[in-house]
């Protein structure tokens, strides 16, 4: 019982660290007298997850409990957990933001995130459940040379998880800072400590339930907001959209986005343009490449694959994907209302003023719809959505840390160092916990070190590596008779290197010369614009003068941004990898790296020979199709 007492105290400490961060929150988000509301909502949600972890900690005894909750999660529970694992802050806040700022393109962007699960459902989920045990590499190692494939598999898993984790930590730090106004470093540490306490003590059991709770809260919050937004329109979609496109704020936004061509358009045309493609995605090929990385990369994301080992049978794995698709898809349909609702009621100018990426669209809409910044319910809604966003970051990070830790402890330590010989269960759990602390500490350190960096590229990179390395290797191991160790090793290496390499020479990086040129353009145009503003003010027309004052403010902002950009690239001539301009135009390398990743597995397999891979084909193929001998341990 002393162990439980220690765990309890450690959990309380983790909660306290996270909570201490809250009272220091800023005046920017909630009005001063409603600060206690934010505090209470955060405390309630953190306390709930802590309680879950405390209960879960008692159930984690074996490695199977730690990595896969003993395979005792039901299909429906797992479906909610997958949704909780997958709906990261980027998709939850980011897509609503994209829709609020760019209309149609933002909504189109959300589609790929759902379609990705068809690949998971049809090709990956059930075979993985039938063959795997704890990790992605288990599947590769079952058929191919265990030592070699575990090494390359684990490296790829750690690469993908670290990229994704860094993006989440940095994005989360910024978000928590914006939402509740605490320091960036403090919010990164709060996210890290809280996540570590879930994973360390509660393993997959606690991680699963934290993800389920988060998904339920997220969906509930979205439904409430959408109901409040939609009710005045009698639940009519055309009536709602008609009102959105008739709104002057929306029309002004489109005029700003289009620039000169907007001058000949009527207000109605401008509004309608918000529902048409092309305001965000300028290069179609980028959108297609990104779509490929999403649709094939999700099936190679280690923290998503790992979720299929938590259910007892292939039938439950299937059921969990169907549930996940219902929840994730339903959520993105709700996002349509959140995004367009935010554009209509909050206005894109106000959204972009708080966060240029539009991440605050959802929270600001919640505040508006609850009654505004001066009302109790408005602040309650803002606090609630902020707390859900916080829970979102923690839940996603927990799943990622668990995936990376399992690759280190299960694949590298037990599988490679011990060569698969029997390792005592207690030792396995201890190894898993040590790996968790290592990964968690690294995540916090990277999160703090990467402050202010552009991390969007890392999400693209994680999906690109997953789609170009993990996906071809897993798919061909499962479905191609000729596939073997050489193929898997070369596929993992080529896929990872290509995805990373192509991203490093893509337009995602900062190119000092281009930044300087853009800044110069803004600065050079200043005198002419100042003259126009002065002329407008001098004209004596009140409306013109008011517009000129607005323009002057916008110009001041643009000038200071241009100057800041110039200062940032001061003395630099080339990008991080020494290029003056990008070698490829694609933002996401998927279009090239996915086919080449497949090619590497195929060529490697044809060139190499491996008796084990050939001998195991019959067994792998029968087992993945029939579930023969699939471990159905439920442990409880």
């Amino acid at each position: 019982m002393t162990i439980n007492a220690v765990k309890g105290r450690a959990l309380a400490l983790g909660g306290a660290v996270a909570l201490m961060a809250v009272p220091a929150h800023a005046e920017t988000s909630a009005a001063g007298q409603y600060r206690w509301v934010t505090f209470a909502v955060f405390a309630a949600i953190i306390a709930l997850t802590m309680y879950i972890t405390y209960v879960a900690a008692k159930r984690v005894k074996s490695a199977s409990d730690f990595y896969t909750a003993g395979g005792g999660i039901s299909g429906m529970q797992n479906g909610w957990a997958i949704a909780g694992d997958y709906l990261s802050a980027a998709s939850f806040l980011g897509i609503a933001g994209l829709i609020s700022l760019y209309g149609y393109d933002g909504f189109m962007f959300s589609v790929g995130w759902l379609v990705a699960y068809i690949t998971v459902l049809l090709l990956i989920a059930e075979p993985c459940r039938n063959i795997g045990k704890y990790t992605l590499s288990d599947i590769l190692a079952y058929r191919n040379d265990p030592r070699k494939t575990r090494v390359v598999g684990a490296l790829s898993v750690i690469t993908v998880s670290t990229f994704y984790l860094t993006a989440q930590m940095v994005g989360g730090g910024v978000l928590v800072k914006t939402l509740i106004g605490i320091d960036y470093e403090v919010s990164v540490i709060a996210v890290g400590v809280l996540m570590l306490s879930y994973v360390l003590f509660g393993g997959m059991v606690a991680t699963t339930w934290v993800q389920v709770v988060k998904a339920v809260l997220l969906v509930a919050a979205s439904i409430i907001i959408v109901m409040l937004v939609w009710t005045p329109y009698g639940f009519s979609l055309p009536a709602f959209m008609q009102d959105v496109v008739s709104d002057p704020k929306v029309q002004a936004r489109v005029a700003t986005l289009l620039g000169d061509p907007a001058k000949n358009m009527t207000a109605a045309e401008l509004g309608q343009r918000f529902l048409e493609p092309g305001l965000y995605f300028k290069a179609p090929i980028d959108q297609i490449s990104l779509g490929m990385a999403l649709v094939f990369g999700t099936a190679g994301l280690p923290h998503i694959l790992m979720r299929f080992f938590t259910v007892p049978t292939a039938q439950q794995a299937r059921k969990s994907v169907v549930w996940a698709m219902a929840i994730i898809g339903g959520f993105y349909v709700l996002t349509l209302f959140l995004g367009f609702g935010a554009a209509r009621f909050v206005g894109s100018a106000n959204i972009a003023a708080v966060d240029a990426g539009g991440n605050m669209a959802g929270p600001l809409l919640a505040q508006y719809i609850g009654g505004g910044a001066d009302s109790f319910f408005g602040n309650f809604m803002l606090a609630f959505v902020s707390a859900v966003a916080f829970a979102t970051i923690v839940a996603v990070v927990a799943g990622l840390v668990l995936a990376a830790a399992s690759a280190m402890a299960h694949d590298l330590w037990v599988g490679v160092v011990h060569g698969g010989e029997t390792v005592a269960p207690q030792q396995q759990v201890r190894a898993a916990r040590i790996a968790t602390v290592i990964v968690g500490a690294i995540a916090i350190l990277i999160g703090i070190a990467a402050k202010g960096q552009n991390v969007a590229v890392l999400v693209a990179l994680a999906f690109a590596v997953a789609a170009s390395a993990n996906f071809p290797c897993v798919l061909l191991t499962l479905y191609w008779k000729r596939c073997n160790t050489t193929g898997v090793v070369s596929g993992m290496i080529v896929g990872t290197l290509l995805a990373v390499g192509l991203t490093l020479v893509s337009p995602n990086l900062t190119y000092p010369k281009a930044v300087r040129a853009a800044a110069h353009k803004v600065l050079d145009a200043e005198p002419a614009k100042r003259e126009a503003i002065a002329a407008a003010v001098a004209s004596g027309d009140a409306a013109k003068a008011a517009k000129a004052a607005k323009d002057a403010a916008a110009l001041d902002k643009a000038i200071s941004k241009a100057k800041a950009d110039m200062a940032k690239v001061e003395g630099q001539e080339t990008s991080f990898v020494g290029l003056e301009k990008p070698l490829i135009e694609l933002k996401n390398p998927g279009l090239y790296s996915i086919p080449l990743g497949f090619l590497a597995v195929i060529l490697g397999s044809l060139l190499g020979r491996d008796k084990r891979s050939e001998d195991m084909w019959d067994e792998v193929y029968v087992r993945q199709n029939t579930g023969l001998l699939a471990s159905r341990s439920t442990a409880h």
């Binding site: 589609v111 009536a239 496109v245 959108q287 299937r318 199709n625 029939t626």
Partner: protein, 109 residues
């Protein structure tokens, strides 16, 4: 993995006509559905990029072809999931568990 699995004759399962039938049926069904979903999905970004005039046509109030097509992606994805589950639940699972039970018994005796 339990050492008991060595007693199952995997080649015999592969040669079993029921397994052959399951394999043929699943291969055609899964890859067909997969191909359809990929084509249907990529029609959206391709349409948004190259068929903008079509996407702009208003159909239902201010709702245009593009918006309704994007919404249809959700319906189609859910439809595929439900259809696949139905076929797998009623057909694939039955054959698979029959084969599994049969060969587990043979391995045991």
């Amino acid at each position: 993995m339990a050492p008991a699995n060595s007693s199952i004759d995997w080649a015999a399962v592969i040669a079993d006509p029921r397994f052959q039938k399951l394999h043929r049926r699943k291969t055609a069904f899964l890859w067909g559905l997969m191909a359809f979903s990929v084509v249907y999905y990529f029609a959206l970004p391709i349409g948004a990029a190259y068929f903008q005039e079509l996407f702009k046509i208003r159909v239902w109030g201010v709702l245009n072809v593009g918006l309704l097509f994007a919404l249809s992606e959700f319906v189609v994805a859910w439809g595929i999931a439900i259809y696949y589950s139905h076929v797998a639940n009623t057909e694939f699972d039955r054959i698979a568990s029959e084969i599994a039970a049969d060969f587990t018994k043979r391995a045991g005796s």
